[in-house]
């Protein structure tokens, strides 16, 4: 029973609403004391339920990320032969004695050692969820590997190379294996590494991961939230497929992994490794790891602080990156049907440890460390994202004691600040508006003045011209009068001369008359020319000069 419980506990989901499984490591400070977390859990549970039972003295306190106090009981003297170790080692035991908590021996069997069973049942009925992101160039065998890993056929046809940009396609599946349900989401990158210009290729991936974190954060920050039933879409692990060139990482790989290493657990994989011989493979692996280290890329290390899996994990860590081959075809080898790829020179068996590291990958990914991957995502990557996001918004954890209040206070403070800013902005705008209006007014006034002046000037001009015209008219009238006088005088003379006799004098006088008339007619056009503004208004010039209509011409 112990073994099964151990394995079950390893795979149990830890979430906010559950009682967290306490971790236990043999503390160096107090080697004699052993911790029985199950009992402690049971006590904790009871405490929560009853609210009364308190264990005093001798209990250790440990703080976890949510800063809830957990009281864990220690059993003095009673040796439990099993050292139950659970996955999710992010909480450390402090071997110090806390205040007011002590351990008590039990005189009989109480029965809270069935706590794990209850947990197991609950989590099995709830189901587990796991999200994998596969990043790699088109045609490296991502879909085939997924099919091989989970022994089923996932996706449709392979993708083409002519995608304009990188897109992510996400597919969710429900898998069931002997009453344990798994909601598996596989996200594939489509078109990665196909473009000629690959500088922007990593961006859609980073945005996708951030979007999942953001969704979870929003759910967490809601007032009415349902975290218990929330379908967690955060990416728990990223399988990065490296092309088996045999030389080194490609520049695209390096850049993308650097961008992703702080957001998700990266497990690098050498894809299609049936193209590399053994000696080349070791060289290739060494080159890759050295390049990753020298560039500061943090790939996922299998946890080695958990006793039962430490050994196997540390050996596996040395085999990273795994060289895998995927195949969904079955070939008869010996008398068994096995997954393999058949070549003219031999058959590559997928599950043969000598041929490739597929078995290792499957062990590590699914059978041993699935829970740890989820924990890491939640506690490391998600918390980092959350912290960055909230700090951006201006929240700070200045006083660790009063948690909800500081949030509220900061929120209120922010709000007031914001309103104040708004008001200030309004005032500014108003002032600007007033100023503008004033300026406009002044401008308009000036314009008005100018117009007035112009009008006056024009009026004056008009007056002057009118005067001139009138003078000229007068002169003309005078001349006309004098002419008329001369005419009458001449006529008189003429009549007299006629009486006196002689047509010569008449002619002479007629000539004189004509010349004087000509003079007058000549005068008029020149006056017209002087008075008019434009030369080339032919209508003006060609019209017969009429003394009566001079004014209308001049005033044009």
């Amino acid at each position: 029973m112990t073994e099964s419980i151990q394995s079950v506990l390893k795979n149990t989901k830890a979430s906010d609403s559950f009682v967290k499984l306490a971790t236990a490591t043999r503390t160096r400070a107090s080697p004699a004391k052993e911790v029985n977390p199950e009992k402690a859990e049971g006590e904790d549970r009871e405490e929560k339920e009853n609210g009364k039972l308190k264990l005093k003295s001798g209990d250790t306190e440990c703080w976890d990320n949510d800063r809830e106090r957990k009281r864990v009981g220690r059993l003095d003297g009673k040796e439990e032969s099993r050292s139950v170790v659970c996955a999710g080692n992010y909480r450390r035991w402090k071997g110090n004695k806390g205040e007011g908590v002590r351990s008590l021996p039990l005189s009989g069997h109480v029965g809270f050692d069935s706590m794990p069973d209850q947990l197991v049942n609950k989590s099995v009925s709830h189901g587990f969820c796991f999200n994998i992101l596969c990043v790699g160039e088109t045609g490296l065998g991502k879909s085939t590997l997924m099919d091989t890993l989970f022994n089923t056929k996932f996706e449709g046809e392979p993708n083409s190379h002519s995608q304009p940009g990188v897109q992510l396609k996400s597919n969710s599946y429900e898998l069931q294996e002997s009453s344990v349900r798994l909601k598996l989401t596989v996200v594939n990158t489509v078109g990665f590494g196909d473009q000629i210009n690959k500088e922007e290729s990593y961006k859609p991936i980073v945005e996708f991961i951030d979007a999942q974190f953001e969704a979870y954060l929003q759910e967490e920050l809601k007032i009415k939230r349902t975290l218990h039933n929330y379908h967690d879409t955060r990416i728990h692990t990223c399988l990065y497929f490296i092309a088996p060139t045999g030389h080194s990482l490609k520049s695209l790989d390096l850049v993308t992994m650097k961008k992703l290493d702080s957001k998700v657990n990266i497990i690098p994989i050498i894809a299609k490794s049936d193209a590399i011989s053994k000696s080349e493979l070791t060289k290739f692996k060494i080159k890759i790891t050295s390049e990753l280290v020298s560039n500061g890329v943090q790939i996922y290390q299998f946890p080695t602080d958990d006793e039962t899996v430490a050994e196997i994990n540390s050996t596996m860590n040395a085999h990273l990156p795994f060289a895998v081959i995927g195949s969904t075809e079955e070939v008869k080898i010996g008398n068994k049907m096995m997954k393999a790829r058949q070549y003219p020179w031999g058959t590559v068996q997928v599950e043969n440890e000598n041929h490739c590291d597929f078995v290792k990958l499957r062990e590590m990914l699914i059978r041993v460390n699935m829970e740890d991957l989820r924990e890491q995502t939640h506690t490391r990557h998600y918390e980092l994202y959350r912290r960055c996001k909230l700090e951006e918004m201006g929240f700070k954890d200045t006083d660790p004691d009063s948690k909800p209040f500081s949030l509220q206070e900061t929120y209120e403070a922010k709000r007031n600040e914001f309103m104040g800013e708004l008001q200030k902005k309004e005032e500014e705008m108003r002032q600007m508006f007033v100023q503008r209006v004033k300026e406009k007014e002044a401008e308009l006034k000036e314009a008005e003045k100018e117009l007035h002046e112009k009008f006056d000037r024009l009026k004056k001009l008009h007056q002057e011209e009118k005067k001139k015209l009138e003078d000229k008219k007068k002169v003309l009238d005078d001349e006309m009068n004098s002419f008329k006088q001369r005419k009458t005088a001449a006529e008189l003379l003429q009549s007299q001369a006629q009486q006196a006799g002689g047509s010569q004098t008449l002619k002479r006088e007629k000539e004189r008359k004509n010349t004087s008339e000509g003079v007058v007619t000549e005068c008029v056009p020149t006056m017209l020319c002087v008075g008019s503004v434009r030369l080339h208004t032919p209508s003006c010039i060609r019209e017969p000069p009429e003394p009566v209509t001079i004014d209308s011409h001049r005033l044009k």
Partner: protein, 335 residues
């Protein structure tokens, strides 16, 4: 010339083809160095001899192709190199002393297609379209030991379809005469159907578990032999390249690609000239310097004439305008 992304086995294949070791102590740049890397063109010239027949072999390698993050225009240096060789030959041919012309023109490009994809990638298509009318392209599927025979067939068909779809002119094998015997025709047909060749290259000789030392790659599950026809098309490629079609490659380069280049070159030089075809061909006999000067003078003259005409017309216009103004002024004055 060998062109392809790094890690596809170009140098290994070249070594296997000519059974020599051209690339000793090669330093492979790490990936962070590759990010901004630009293309280099490296020439390796070797003289090889077999049974008294000497061949001067020049292998042009292009490290850095397709390795950077931004690979737009990474084929330009290659196209320029090819054009340079043509230009050099053109000059030599038009020169006075034509006895010892060194033919550095590229006779064949071996283009390495990655076996991991599902066909041609955009970069492959762009490159091939940029050089397909300058040089013979022989596409090759590299590292074919990644693919099972069935996958090889699928991939080849796919690549052939895509080549047709994009209108890329790869090197076509000449049709054999109809009076050749059946076996030869069969071979020829098989050859044509295996484009692009799926090859494996190897630097190592395998000594154990085999009858005689052969070139191959040793895996835990078997040995992939380079020269085995069932395993890959390497021997077909070698035969084609060296034994049977070497001369044809050179001929096609000389007759088709070089002539195309030459025609283009000359056309661009004498584009403005209005001389007829015969005189143009006479001009082509002369040296290149004269060629360049003559049409230039003619064009200049024409330009000058046109300029003068324009000036005259402008002057006339001005005069007319002045006249009009004057007449208007006179009219106004007259009144």
């Amino acid at each position: 010339m060998v062109v392809g992304e790094s890690g596809l086995g170009k140098s290994t294949l070249v070594n296997s083809l000519f059974l020599t070791d051209l690339y000793t102590d090669r330093e492979i740049p790490s990936s962070e160095e590759c990010i901004p890397q630009t293309l280099e063109i490296i020439k390796n010239a070797v003289d090889i001899e077999e049974r008294g027949v000497k061949v001067k072999l020049t292998i042009v390698d292009t490290p850095g192709f397709g390795d950077a993050l931004d690979n737009s225009d990474c084929w330009k240096p290659i196209a320029q190199y090819i054009d340079q060789q043509f230009e050099q030959y053109f000059r030599d041919e038009s020169g006075l002393n034509r006895k010892n012309i060194q033919d550095n023109r590229v006779h064949c490009i071996l283009y390495f297609i990655s076996p991991y994809g599902h066909g041609l990638r955009p970069l492959d298509v762009e490159f091939m379209k940029a050089v397909h009318d300058k040089v013979n392209i022989v596409p090759i599927i590299a590292k074919a030991d990644t693919l099972t025979p069935k996958e090889v067939m699928v991939m080849k068909q796919r690549i052939r379809d895509e080549i047709e779809q994009y209108g890329i002119n790869i090197y076509q094998f000449p049709d054999c005469d109809s009076d050749e015997d059946e076996e030869f025709k069969q071979q020829d047909l098989a050859l044509k159907n295996s484009i692009p060749f799926a090859v494996i290259g190897s630097n190592e000789m395998i000594n154990e578990n085999v009858a005689r030392p052969i070139r191959g790659r040793a895996y835990p599950w078997g040995v992939a032999e380079v020269e085995n026809k069932v395993h890959c098309d390497f021997s077909m490629l070698r035969n084609m390249l060296i034994q049977t079609h070497m001369q044809d490659l050179k001929d096609v380069t000389q007759e088709v690609h070089y002539e195309n280049y030459r025609a283009q070159c000359i056309q661009s030089l004498t584009r403005i000239g209005t001389k007829d075809r015969s005189s143009r061909s006479k001009i082509s006999r002369q040296s290149i310097t004269e060629l360049s000067l003559l049409p230039l003078a003619a064009t200049e003259k024409l330009i000058q004439e046109k300029d003068e005409e324009l000036r005259r017309m402008q002057e006339m216009l001005k005069m007319m305008q002045q006249q009009m103004q004057q007449s208007q002024g006179e009219q106004s004055d007259a009144l």
